[in-house]
Symmetry: C2
Subunit: 182 residues, 2 copies
DNA sequence: GAATACATGTAAAATGTTACATGATTTT
DNA sequence: AAAATCATGTAACATTTTACATGTATTC
């Protein structure tokens, strides 16, 4: 699926692996992230499969850059994926919830500490979303300033914020209940 | 991490791989699920590592059952994991959001169709949570009727419901906005 | 007659993470 | 002096999914 994230970005403009990592971290990170190494491997595979092509640009002061661009085949693969409806619900894998589920034997104070830590982490995350939203009008997101693109991008941001708010609300309720009645 | 889900259940009572799959589907499925094949492989590995032991019970009319039970080492491994705070936020990987992010070139009607399908799926999911909550007092969840266990179990259920409600709310808002202004 | 429940597994492929390796330039 | 930015990759490992393989008994 990382495949389509990469094709999606390359559909706007040619990029290096490094560029793609930065773009993902600055935009899709809430709902799709990947490590550098995985990005480089996937790009190579997509080139082998004929969905991408690349050129190597030599640099003297920095390491050489390999710039990938999408091919016609890549474009039509992306477009057919975009047209296909998503028939499954995304699968959540949440360590905190798993831990909480089995935490009956853990003492109340430790449990509360764990939940408060998560509250901090989610609050930080929410703040970073707000920062991204306000800095979005800046220059980082190079060619996403086209109408529809920006519009949909904002919709995914809204989801991220709503999700974090819900998580924090649930943590607050759960912390309060445990503090009172556990 | 599936490791701890399995140890967590086996900490209550010995089970077969098949039992564990059913238990997970009926309780942790919102935040942790696994395929049968993965469960069998992981159980085998945990036995090799000395965290579990098993006995084979022969049956005539059904396939033989391999019943796993947790060892002392397994118990202390589980407990030390439970005591450790969760220092990361769980990573979301959501295909719908990824697709939406790149859907500027897709026509409005197709987009709306995709979002409405997801709305149906999430509504179904939410309903299945409500059913689980009401059937929880029944006999399926064998020994989870202990006070604290049940309490924490309910907390994770509440999260599941809140999450689905938020998702549906976001879908409704996004559908409305696209229908009006896209 | 078909589907579901019971019951276990192997093999291959796909996906993802962590660690390692290199090395100049710029910022703190 | 240390850390971050730019820039690319390999190798090992861990995790997860999908497909295959088998076979009875019960329920719809």
């Amino acid at each position: 699926m990382l495949k389509y994230a990469l094709l999606g970005f390359l559909n706007y403009e040619p990029c290096t692996g490094y560029d793609l990592k930065r773009k993902m971290d600055a935009s899709t990170a809430f709902f799709w992230r990947a490590e550098m190494s995985q990005i480089y491997m996937t790009l190579k595979k997509l080139e082998t499969d004929g969905l991408l092509e690349s050129d190597l640009y030599q640099q003297t002061e920095r390491p050489d850059r390999r710039v990938y661009r999408i091919t016609g085949t890549g474009r039509s693969d992306l477009r057919s994926w975009l047209r296909q409806p998503t028939t499954e619900i995304h699968t959540v894998k949440d360590t905190l919830l798993l831990k909480l589920f089995f935490s009956a034997q853990i003492d109340r104070e430790t449990l509360l500490m764990h939940l408060r830590l998560q509250r901090d982490l989610h609050t930080q995350e929410l703040e970073s979303y707000h920062e991204m939203i306000s800095s979005a009008s800046g220059g980082t997101v190079t060619r996403l300033e086209l109408e529809h693109d920006q519009w949909l991008w904002a919709a995914t941001q809204r989801f991220g914020a709503m999700y974090q708010e819900t998580y924090i609300r649930w943590l607050d309720e759960t912390i309060a209940l445990i503090a009172e009645r556990f």
